[in-house]
């Protein structure tokens, strides 16, 4: 198995931020109930302050004919505010976990306080064949989507269940940030790579996600189907890191 530079792209981008990283231990059933936490890194700072900028917590729970994925995203707004997005996606039991419906709320919150005026937004949506209908309580918007569509956060879940061998690229419409409809996306398996993480060799499987309106995403999944890293250009998610005291 070759570990040529192109095979390790995009791990090379986040390597400087992985000092002290220990891969998670224990069993993981990607099709079961689980909770995975990620640290968000922004890698673009010229000043070199590409440290942790936020967090992402995903919770998967089985539901009739599918599962529910809860999303909790937080990003720092210096000096003392937070950008928050919380949502819940009810997914079908299919390859990408196509959403049947979702809700989300977003806001900028002050330190120790509630949402800052004019920043709170709540939306929900339902999908049917070839269409998504988005509501915000007062307004309704219908948009066409491919029959196979998924939300960006749900791809963290989907890659854990995909084969660890090459397959025909999966074509879909991306619902980015829940409500931004971006057509012409593909998800494919690239290859496996043995990588030294925390002093131990770990076999990772790379899945590439390309399409309109996204810089290529690469998901790095361990042998149990746990995405350890997700990197898109300057945006990176590292599982459970840094370790909490």
């Amino acid at each position: 198995m070759s570990n040529a530079a192109e095979n390790l792209f995009t791990l090379n981008v986040i390597t400087p931020h992985l000092e002290g990283f220990r891969p998670p231990l224990g069993e993981h059933d990607p099709a079961g109930d689980w909770e995975l936490s990620y640290t968000l890194y922004t890698l673009g700072s010229i000043a070199g302050s590409g440290g942790p900028m936020g967090s992402l917590v995903l919770r998967r729970k089985a539901a009739p004919a599918g599962f529910v994925l809860a999303v909790d995203y937080r990003k720092r707004v210096p000096p003392d505010m937070t950008q928050e997005v919380s949502g819940e996606i009810t997914c079908r039991q299919d390859t990408l976990g196509t959403p049947k419906r979702w809700t989300y709320a977003s806001a900028i919150t002050a330190a120790g306080g509630g949402p800052i005026k004019h920043t709170r937004l709540e939306k929900s949506a339902t999908t049917t064949d070839g269409q998504i209908e988005i509501h915000d309580g007062r307004h309704r918007r219908q948009l066409p989507v491919a029959a196979r569509c998924t939300i960006h956060w749900a791809l963290f879940e989907a890659v854990g269940r995909l084969p660890r061998t090459p397959f025909e690229p999966i074509r879909f419409t991306l619902l980015d940030h829940f409500d931004q409809v971006k057509p012409n996306h593909t998800l494919s398996f690239r290859r496996a790579a043995d990588v030294m993480l925390g002093g131990q060799a770990v076999r990772l499987h790379a899945y590439d996600h390309l399409g309109e309106g996204v810089v290529p995403w690469v998901y790095w999944v361990d042998k149990q189907g746990r995405p350890l890293f997700a990197v898109s250009g300057l945006e990176a998610y590292v599982i459970g890191f840094p370790q909490k005291g």
Partner: protein, 472 residues
């Protein structure tokens, strides 16, 4: 289907506003193929005379968006359905220029209507001179709710306080992470605001500026050999002037990005267009909110950018320099029923100087005057006596004079000048400043530069607060 072109011909000057609104959209056809009938039908019923109520303003500022990086402007490597929607709804200026293709100076002009040498912001990291009021201050004084969300960079990137504005804080950093928060917050504002006063909402999105880091961190972000098999055959072509390096003033000539293979350049350009599409999605979210809340008919929407992006042209990344890829930016204006729909204006030289003047004109507020102009006559009537040339600033000491046919570039004390005949050489590959056939044109442009300079009301450069102060 031919695009509708607004020209400053004598006959078009005689066209009435009502005729222009009607024929501008319906007479010569839609700008985008396949959309003609719907657009024309919309325009035919959109002739309601403005009742006199002051409009709202939505100012969408992109960062590093080149004029031709939009699908409605002919770029086949990108898909921008939301910016295209704005193009269909209004007038898009194809001879639109940054006043100085760097973030802070250009933004100082957008928000004051003054050239960077008149705002004191001659380079990044400087505040606007306190004697020069910004657009927010001008409109707030006359009863507007003035709200700012996103990147400011005069001097702070994402300050929580800006004179003349209420700031909706979203945090800074990269466009991929901050722009969705900007668009969500702008949507929330549009859906929750009190409607007792008209508003100015400045939504300053960061994309596609993220591409800067692909050059800074090139080796990490642009691998020697791309791993994405699916991109084979799908990467954008290199531009025709990729390796063209016409003679240039020394300060301009030394800017060159080396180290990318052809495939890396093409991947770089591919990524840039994906970032433009990210921007487009956030523009769409804000436009949707305007539509959904029934405020679109009461709102002047203007989309522009601070500067363009090299995309491998002349071996360049990023901006700063006076070539077209750096200095040309979109300037699209819509106001349903008031501004002609689906018009492509190729004839008039406009710049970031004109934004504040236009908004002040529509608000009935005294504008900054100076060298900027209100675009309103062009938007409503298609033509008016207009400037014959404009000037942009570069690298503090560089100036570019742009006339309909030529581009002249001069850097203070540098013996090498540039003169491009843009009609014959749109890719700027042949500097003809030594060609005797162009001696008269060269002399004319030197004279125009002196004429422009004589009209400036300059202020001392404001301090660069982004750099540590030198100890005395």
């Amino acid at each position: 289907m031919k695009p509708n072109r607004s020209t400053p011909s004598p006959s078009s000057r005689r066209t009435s506003r009502r005729q222009f609104l009607r024929t501008g959209a319906a007479g010569a056809g839609a700008l985008l193929a396949g959309l003609g009938s719907a657009t024309a039908a919309g325009a035919a019923t959109a002739l309601a005379v403005h009742t006199g109520r002051r409009p709202n303003f939505l100012l969408l500022v992109a960062d590093q968006l080149g004029l031709d990086a939009i699908s409605a402007h002919g770029c086949g490597d990108v898909r921008t359905p939301n910016i295209d929607r704005l193009v269909r709804r209004g007038v898009t200026f194809m001879e639109s220029h940054s006043t100085n293709p760097v973030c802070s100076p250009a933004r100082s002009s957008l928000f004051t209507g003054r050239m960077p040498t008149e705002t004191g912001v001659i380079s990044n990291g400087r505040p606007i001179h306190p004697s020069v009021p910004n657009l927010g201050q001008r409109l707030r004084e006359h009863g507007y709710d003035t709200v700012y969300c996103g990147k400011w960079h005069l001097p702070g990137g994402y300050p929580h306080q800006i004179d003349g504005f209420d700031v909706l804080p979203v945090g800074g950093g990269q466009g991929d992470l901050v722009d969705p928060a900007v668009s969500r917050t702008c949507e929330a504002y549009l859906k929750t605001r009190s409607r007792t006063s008209p508003f100015l909402l400045a939504a300053s999105l960061l994309q596609p500026h993220d591409i800067c880091y692909w050059a800074i961190k090139g080796k990490a972000l642009v691998p020697q050999k791309l791993p994405f098999d699916q991109l084979a055959g799908r990467l954008p072509d290199l531009p025709p002037n990729h390796k063209s390096r016409p003679p240039a003033p020394e300060k301009l000539d030394r800017i060159k990005y080396a180290g990318f293979s052809d495939e890396q350049w093409r991947y770089y350009i591919y990524v840039y267009y994906r970032q433009v599409e990210m921007l487009d999605a956030d523009v769409g979210r804000i436009l949707d909110a305007l539509d959904d809340t029934g405020q679109a008919d009461e709102t002047v929407v203007l989309l522009t950018a601070d500067h363009g992006e090299g995309r491998g042209r002349h071996m360049h990344v990023q901006k700063w320099y006076p070539y077209e890829e750096s200095v040309k930016v979109p300037l699209i204006v819509s106001w349903p029923g008031q501004v002609a729909e689906n018009v492509r204006n190729d004839a008039h030289l406009v710049s970031g100087l004109d934004v504040t003047n236009t908004f002040c004109d529509y608000a009935g507020v005294a504008g900054p005057g100076g060298l900027g102009r209100s675009l309103r006559p062009l938007l409503e009537q298609g033509s008016t006596p207009w400037r014959d040339f404009l000037v942009t600033e570069h690298h503090v000491v560089g100036r570019m004079v742009r006339t309909p046919q030529f581009k002249f570039v001069r850097y203070e004390d540098d013996p090498v000048e540039q003169l491009f005949d843009l009609e014959a050489d749109p890719w700027e590959m042949h500097n003809v400043y030594h060609d005797a056939r162009y001696a008269d044109a060269l002399a004319d442009h030197r004279r125009l530069l002196a004429e422009w300079n004589a009209q400036l009301v300059t202020v001392p450069p404001t301090p660069d607060v982004s750099r540590p102060r030198r100890r005395a």
